[in-house]
């Protein structure tokens, strides 16, 4: 249903009251005196967080959820960062407090994970440190600190258990963010010595080579995927680099 139809439904004179919360809206729908649109508008945020004017109530509601996926948390942090630059001091304070709440949540999680066993908590710890570093995008010193911490965590884990391919999903992004591309490449080459035809390792290598501006190497790796399997997305990327038609999306 389009937004305008929902809005008109809500304006229908049969619906004399408007629920204030999603629970009340649900009860109203059950009782038959509110339309379904009432829950959609109260219970679910149907706008992007970036859309202005920012809905502070929605930001607050999302902030109260303790287990949001990282992508949502990052967007929330980015929006709060923008709000801190608002000329309205109260709004700026709201942004700063919200950002602080998100950061404190991560810091507490990191501290709790640090107390755990390295073999079980290292990966979640490194993941939390990476996520916090990405939230600190506009504060380079803090970002560098948490990236270094995360890299050290993975290194300590590898010292204990040996290098594992599944950690590349953390290892490579950490180095890409930190700008230590040579280190990332060196690790990937070592992995390739052990598993020469591994598509996942080559994919990460393509990312590193792209960041290093070595585009011929990127093409070579994409060509490798043409011969040794690889997802349709990688085949599309190969055709894109060759300047060919992208085909069906």
């Amino acid at each position: 249903m389009s937004y305008s139809k929902e809005y008109l439904q809500l304006l229908d004179s049969r619906y004399l009251v408007m629920a204030r919360t999603q629970k009340a809206a649900l009860k109203g729908i059950e009782g038959g005196f509110l339309p379904e649109a009432a829950f959609i508008t109260k219970g679910i945020n149907v706008r992007s967080l970036f859309e202005e004017p920012y809905e502070l109530i929605e930001l607050d509601r999302l902030l109260s959820k303790p287990d949001m996926p990282f992508e949502v948390t990052l967007r929330l942090a980015q929006v709060c960062e923008r709000i801190t630059r608002n000329p309205d001091k109260e709004l700026a304070l709201f942004g700063a407090e919200s950002l602080n709440a998100l950061e404190v949540r991560y810091v507490q999680r990191i501290q709790k994970l640090k107390k755990g066993e390295l073999s079980t908590s290292a990966r979640p710890l490194a993941q939390a440190q990476l996520e916090l570093a990405l939230i600190y995008e506009t504060r380079p010193a803090l970002k560098r600190f948490y990236l270094t911490e995360a890299i050290n965590t993975i290194q300590n884990l590898w010292a204990l258990e040996g290098r594992q391919k599944k950690d590349l999903a953390l290892w490579v992004p950490l180095h890409l963010e930190a700008g230590s591309l040579e280190e990332a490449e060196r690790s990937l080459r070592e992995f390739l010595l052990e598993m020469p035809q591994d598509s996942e390792v080559y994919f990460w290598l393509a990312k590193v080579k792209f960041a290093q501006r070595d585009y011929l190497e990127v093409m070579t790796i994409l060509a490798f995927f043409q011969e040794h399997g690889g997802s349709s997305e990688l085949h599309k990327a190969y055709r894109f680099w060759l300047g060919e038609d992208p085909g069906v999306a």
Binding site: E52, L62, L216, F240, L242, G243
Partner: protein
């Protein structure tokens, strides 16, 4: 029997009730000592406790009550009243023979009642089990729907490439502030392409080089301080030819051979009034984002942004002219006339043009209370309010007198201009027009002239002035 043995406590928990009820009947019977067992009423009072117990206890307990009642009536009471004789027992047998059928009826009715109760209980239990199962299924469904809603919400709030967001960002470009607009363009590109470093470059006539006028993110490689050469770099090539560049072109196109890339991933020309005015440069992107999608998005954003840029640059050119008011920095009426001359020919091919003149009629009176310069600065407050609220581009000039302001508004018909003037007046009322802590009571009148075809500037101005004349106080 097995239930009695398995749950004797439950079974015998009704004994106090039974004793009480039967005891009551026995007490009553003592008032009729000649009729132990109430044989006159066929022993019915001693059956009543059993019927009462049936309501609150199990069937077996009711049967027990009946047995105890009958024993109490026909054995204990005769013993107590010294009537336990053969004659009594013969009389008892006669009574039972007579009352046997009603008693039997009573028992059968009780039996049927109990069977019905049991069936009803089974039926209720069955329904309860089904309801519980259904409720459990509904709960699982509700939990799943809640999870689905949550994922949907998370996807919606985290989306950054929505059309409404694009529109919101484009609206911000409706400003006459070029640096702000360029920042807005870079912000849009950051959101929609996820670029982490990018810039906008323009050609500097004095040096003949390309220099950045807006930058976002950390630069990838060093740029010479004097700027980029127009002939030695790909950026210069793009500027000269108006042809976009994407890094992958280096792998199969020969035309860029020998030109310095400066490590730029993508370079797109930015046009204003049909000519290349500048370049949008994407310097750093995630690997996955370097794709057809990003190139398409860039082209779309640039095509949407270019009209705004053209207007801003035109407005900038206007203000670069020397004929501006020293206090407000707004162009003077001479600029208005020049503009009318050029605009009248250019824009009227496609859209009508309105000249709106605002006049503060009580300006002289207010000047006795406040400084004239400060009063003139109120025009700037009005302009700010209009720029914030209006979605249309308007050019603002001083008019002939210092209490008058002129606006050039394209694209409105007669009704449109009238409503626009009302809107202007409403916005003036809402604006914070105060000086030295006091609200300035402005009395504003407005007149307009509308050109739908080629018309001399004088005529347009005369139309507006005539309307003003009608409204001035006598």
């Amino acid at each position: 029997m097995s239930r009695i043995l398995s749950e004797p406590r439950k079974f015998f928990s009704g004994l106090p009730d039974i004793v009480l009820l039967v005891g009551l009947v026995m007490l009553l019977n003592l008032f009729w000592p000649d009729d132990p067992g109430f044989l006159f009423w066929y022993g019915t009072p001693y059956v009543v406790p059993a019927l009462v117990v049936t309501l609150f206890r199990r069937t077996l307990v009711a049967v027990l009550t009946l047995v105890i009642g009958l024993l109490a009536g026909f054995v204990v009471m005769p013993l107590l009243t010294n009537n336990f004789t053969l004659a009594y027992w013969r009389h008892l047998v006669d009574v039972f023979r007579a009352s046997g059928i009603p008693l039997a009826f009573l028992f059968v009715a009780e039996l049927f009642f109990q069977i019905q109760q049991k069936n009803q209980r089974s039926s209720l239990l069955g329904r309860l089990k089904r309801q519980v199962k259904q409720s459990s299924r509904l709960k699982r469904k509700a939990d799943s729907l809640e999870r689905v809603n949550r994922v949907l919400e998370e996807r919606l709030v985290a989306q950054i490439d929505s059309i409404t967001l694009l529109r919101g960002n484009l609206k911000k470009l409706a400003t006459f502030n070029l640096p702000q607009a360029l920042e807005g363009i870079l912000e849009m590109l950051t959101i929609f392409t996820e670029m982490s470093a990018g810039s906008i470059w323009t050609h500097q006539k004095e040096t003949g080089k390309l220099l950045p006028v807006a930058v976002r993110g950390e630069r990838v490689s060093a740029i010479p301080p004097e700027g980029l050469d127009m002939d030695q770099t790909i950026a210069g090539y793009v500027f000269r030819n108006g042809r976009p560049f994407s890094l992958r072109m280096l792998l199969h196109d020969q035309e860029f051979t020998g030109l310095a890339t400066m490590d730029f991933l993508m370079i797109y020309p930015l046009h204003a009034h049909g000519n290349v005015w500048g370049l949008i440069v994407i310097e750093r992107l995630p690997f996955e984002r370097y794709s057809y999608y990003t190139e398409s998005i860039l082209e779309i954003i640039i095509s949407l942004v270019e009209p705004y840029l053209s207007d801003i640059l035109e407005y900038e050119q206007l203000y670069q002219g020397q004929e501006v008011d020293q206090i407000t920095q707004l162009p003077l009426v001479t600029q208005l006339v020049k503009n009318l001359d050029s605009t009248a020919i250019k824009d009227l091919r496609t859209a009508p043009l309105a000249l709106i003149v605002l006049e503060i009629v009580n300006f002289e009176g207010l000047a006795q209370r406040w400084d004239r310069e400060k009063l003139k600065k109120l025009f700037l407050v009005m302009r700010e309010k209009w720029e914030e609220a209006l979605e249309m581009k308007v050019k603002i000039f001083h008019y002939k007198e210092e209490n008058q302001l002129a606006l050039l508004v394209p694209g409105l018909d007669q009704d449109g201009v009238s409503f626009f003037c009302l809107r202007l007046l409403t916005l003036i009322q809402e604006a914070d027009l105060s000086l030295e802590g006091e609200v300035v009571p402005l009395e504003v009148i407005v007149g307009f002239g509308l050109a739908t075809g080629p018309v001399a500037p004088d005529q347009l101005m005369r139309e507006a002035e005539n309307l003003l004349e009608f409204q001035r106080p006598v």
